[in-house]
C-alpha cells in the first residue's frame, strides 16, 4: 500500500477531520432523534432536555394507528418478500445454471427498471393501476413494491449461484447424489448466506418503502413510513415521531449488522455499476 502523502505523520489528521465531520453530520442528527425519543420535557432553548423518561413510549405504543400500521407493514413486507423469493429464486437459479434461448437478453432486461427515474416510473404504474382499480388496495401496494425487489432478488442470487464452484456440484453427483439432491445439499447451502442477505435486504427495503406505498396505498393503506409522514406533517407532539423513528430503525439496524459482510466486498457496489 502506498499513500498520496509521501511522509505520513503519525497522527492521521485527515482521518480525524473526516471522522469528526461525518460524526457531526451523520451521527449527530440520529443522536438528536434518539434523545427526543426518551425525552418528556425539552423546552427551547435548553441544551439538554429538562426531563427524561419513557412516558411517550407508552403513549406511542398505545396508539391504535401505530399498531395497525406496524401490523400492516410487517404483513406487506412478509408477503412481498415471500412472493419475490418464490418468484425470483428459481428464476435466478435458471439464469445462473441453465441455458435457454434469450437467456442474456432476458437477464439484462431486468435492468430496465433502473433506466427510469424511479418515481416517474411509479407514477406511470399508478396510472395503470388507476384503470385496474388497484389504487388504495393491499395488492396494489404489494405489486408496486414487488417492482423494487424484483431486480435485487434476481441479480444477487444469480451471483450467489454462479459463485458456487461447479466442481463441488460435480463431486456430489460423483458420490451418488441426484441433481435435485445436489441442489438441496450443496448448491443451496453454498449460496445460502448471500441469498439470505438478499432476502433480508428486500424485507427491510420493503418495510421502509415509502413512495410506492404513499402513491398507491393512500389513503386506505397506511404503512409505518406513511404514518410517519402524517406525523411529520400534522403531529404536534414531537416525541411520537421520535419514538416511531427509533422503533422504525430497529429492523434497519439488524440489516446493517447482517449486510456488513456483503457490503464489505466490492461485489455490492459493482452490482450498482461501480
Amino acid at each position: 500500500m502506498t499513500t498520496l502523502v509521501p511522509v505520513r505523520s503519525r497522527i492521521d489528521w485527515l482521518g480525524i477531520v473526516f471522522a469528526a465531520l461525518l460524526s457531526l453530520a451523520i451521527v449527530g442528527p440520529l443522536v438528536v432523534v434518539g434523545t427526543w425519543a426518551f425525552t418528556e420535557v425539552w423546552r427551547y432553548p435548553n441544551i439538554i432536555p429538562q426531563q427524561f423518561g419513557f412516558r411517550f413510549w407508552g403513549q406511542t405504543l398505545g396508539r391504535a394507528d401505530v399498531w395497525n400500521a406496524l401490523v400492516l407493514s410487517l404483513q406487506l413486507s412478509t408477503v412481498v418478500t415471500l412472493l419475490s423469493a418464490v418468484i425470483c429464486l428459481p428464476a435466478a437459479y435458471a439464469f445462473a445454471r441453465m441455458s435457454f434461448p434469450g437467456r442474456n437478453i432476458l437477464f439484462f432486461s431486468f435492468l430496465a427498471g433502473h433506466a427510469f427515474p424511479k418515481f416517474g416510473l411509479l407514477v406511470a404504474i399508478a396510472a395503470i393501476f388507476l384503470q385496474l382499480n388497484l389504487i388504495g388496495t393491499f395488492w396494489g401496494v404489494v405489486l408496486i413494491q414487488l417492482v423494487g425487489t424484483l431486480m435485487f432478488m434476481i441479480w444477487i442470487p444469480v451471483a450467489a449461484f454462479q459463485a458456487v464452484d461447479r466442481r463441488m456440484e460435480e463431486a456430489a453427483r460423483d458420490v451418488g447424489a441426484s441433481p435435485f439432491r445436489v441442489f438441496w445439499s450443496i448448491t443451496l447451502p453454498q449460496a445460502g448466506p448471500t441469498i439470505a442477505a438478499a432476502v433480508l435486504l428486500s424485507f427491510v427495503g420493503t418495510f421502509y418503502e415509502t413512495e410506492g406505498a404513499w402513491l398507491i396505498g393512500a389513503p386506505g393503506i397506511r404503512t409505518m413510513p406513511v404514518l410517519m409522514i402524517s406525523y411529520i406533517n400534522n403531529q404536534m407532539v414531537i416525541q411520537y415521531g421520535a419514538v416511531l423513528s427509533v422503533l422504525l430503525w430497529v429492523p434497519s439496524f439488524i440489516a446493517l449488522m447482517f449486510a456488513r459482510r456483503v457490503i464489505g466486498g466490492g461485489a455490492f457496489a459493482r452490482g450498482f455499476g461501480g
Partner: protein, 294 residues
C-alpha cells in the same frame, strides 16, 4: 487448463432438450412482471400522452398536454427547481464523496474503518427518519438553533421548507452509494502505477490528475448517473422538506395524480422526467451490464 474451464462453463449434463423449456418456465413469471410493471407502464405513459381522444372521441396524435406543461408557468418553475436541485446535489455529492473515497482507498490508518462505517451508515437510515431528524436539527428551534443560542449566536435561517432542504437531505441520503461506487472504481487503480508516477517525480495533485482521475472517470459518471436518476424524481424528501411552491417533479407528479386526479397530466410529467434522465439511465444501464458481463 483452458479445456477444463471450458468444460466447467457448460452445464453439468448436456441433455439440453429437456432443460430448455424448464429454464424459460422458471424465469417466465419475473420476466412477465417486469414487462407488465416496468416496460408496459413506460410505453403506456408515452402512448397515452401523445395519442389522445379529441372531443368527438377519435384517438389521434395530440401533444397538447406537453404544450400545456411547457407553457405553464408553474410547471416550468417546478421543472427548473428540479433541475437546479439535481445539479446542486450532483456537484455537492462529488465534492464531498470524492475526498472521502480517496481517503478510504489510500489510508492505512485505523480511523479509515470508522470513516467508512459512517459514510455507509445513511444507507441504513430510511429517508423518512432522515426527514424527521432534519427537522429536529435544522428546523425552527432545532438543535442547531439551541446550540447557536447557547453560545450567543443568532438563529439560523432554517433551510426547512426552502429549496435547500431537499438538497441537504438528498445529499445525505446519497453519500453511501456514491462513496461505494467511487471506492470500487478506485480499487482498479494499481498501487504500482501510483508508485511509478511518484517515482518519476509527480506530486500528489499530479498523481490524482493524471493517474487516478482518468481511471475513475467512468466510476464518477456512474455514481453521478445513479444519483441523478434517484434525485431527479425523488419524492419523500422534497415532499417533507421542500417548499410547497415551486415543488420538485416528484411531489408535483404525486399531487397531479392523486389530488388533482389528472393521470394524463401526471404521465406527461413522468414522460418529461424520463426524457431528461434518458441519457443518464442508458449510461447507467450500460455500465452495470458491462460490469456484469466481465
Amino acid at each position: 487448463m483452458s479445456e477444463v474451464a471450458k468444460a466447467a462453463a457448460r452445464p453439468l449434463m448436456e441433455n439440453a432438450q429437456s432443460r430448455r423449456p424448464l429454464g424459460l418456465l422458471l424465469v417466465a413469471i419475473p420476466v412477465f412482471l417486469m414487462i407488465w410493471l416496468v416496460v408496459w407502464p413506460a410505453i403506456n405513459a408515452i402512448s397515452r400522452t401523445i395519442w389522445r381522444p379529441d372531443v368527438d372521441g377519435n384517438v389521434g396524435f395530440d401533444l397538447s398536454s406537453y404544450a400545456f406543461f411547457f407553457s405553464d408557468r408553474y410547471s416550468l418553475d417546478n421543472l427548473a427547481i428540479t433541475l437546479w436541485t439535481t445539479l446542486v446535489c450532483a456537484i455537492l455529492l462529488l465534492v464531498i464523496c470524492l475526498p472521502i473515497a480517496l481517503y478510504l482507498r489510500f489510508s492505512r490508518s485505523r480511523l479509515s474503518g470508522y470513516v467508512q462505517a459512517l459514510a455507509i451508515l445513511p444507507m441504513f437510515v430510511p429517508s423518512i427518519i432522515l426527514a424527521f431528524a432534519f427537522i429536529r436539527v435544522l428546523g425552527p428551534n432545532g438543535m442547531v438553533d439551541i446550540l447557536f443560542n447557547a453560545v450567543g449566536l443568532p438563529k439560523i435561517r432554517t433551510p426547512y421548507l426552502t429549496p435547500w432542504g431537499p438538497v441537504i437531505g438528498l445529499v445525505w441520503d446519497n453519500i453511501p452509494l456514491t462513496v461505494l461506487i467511487l471506492l470500487s472504481g478506485l480499487g482498479s487503480v494499481a498501487n504500482q502505477s501510483i508508485e511509478a508516477a511518484r517515482d518519476v517525480g509527480a506530486n500528489a495533485l499530479r498523481v490524482f490528475r493524471h493517474i487516478i482521475l482518468p481511471r475513475i472517470s467512468n466510476s464518477i459518471l456512474v455514481a453521478l448517473s445513479f444519483s441523478v436518476l434517484g434525485i431527479f424524481s425523488s419524492f419523500t424528501l422534497p415532499y417533507l422538506l421542500g417548499p410547497a411552491s415551486p415543488e420538485m417533479l416528484g411531489p408535483f407528479m404525486q399531487r397531479t395524480l392523486r389530488e388533482v386526479q389528472d393521470p394524463i397530466g401526471a404521465m406527461t410529467q413522468a414522460v418529461i422526467a424520463f426524457g431528461f434522465c434518458i441519457v443518464f439511465g442508458l449510461f447507467y444501464v450500460r455500465s452495470v451490464a458491462r460490469n456484469q458481463g466481465k
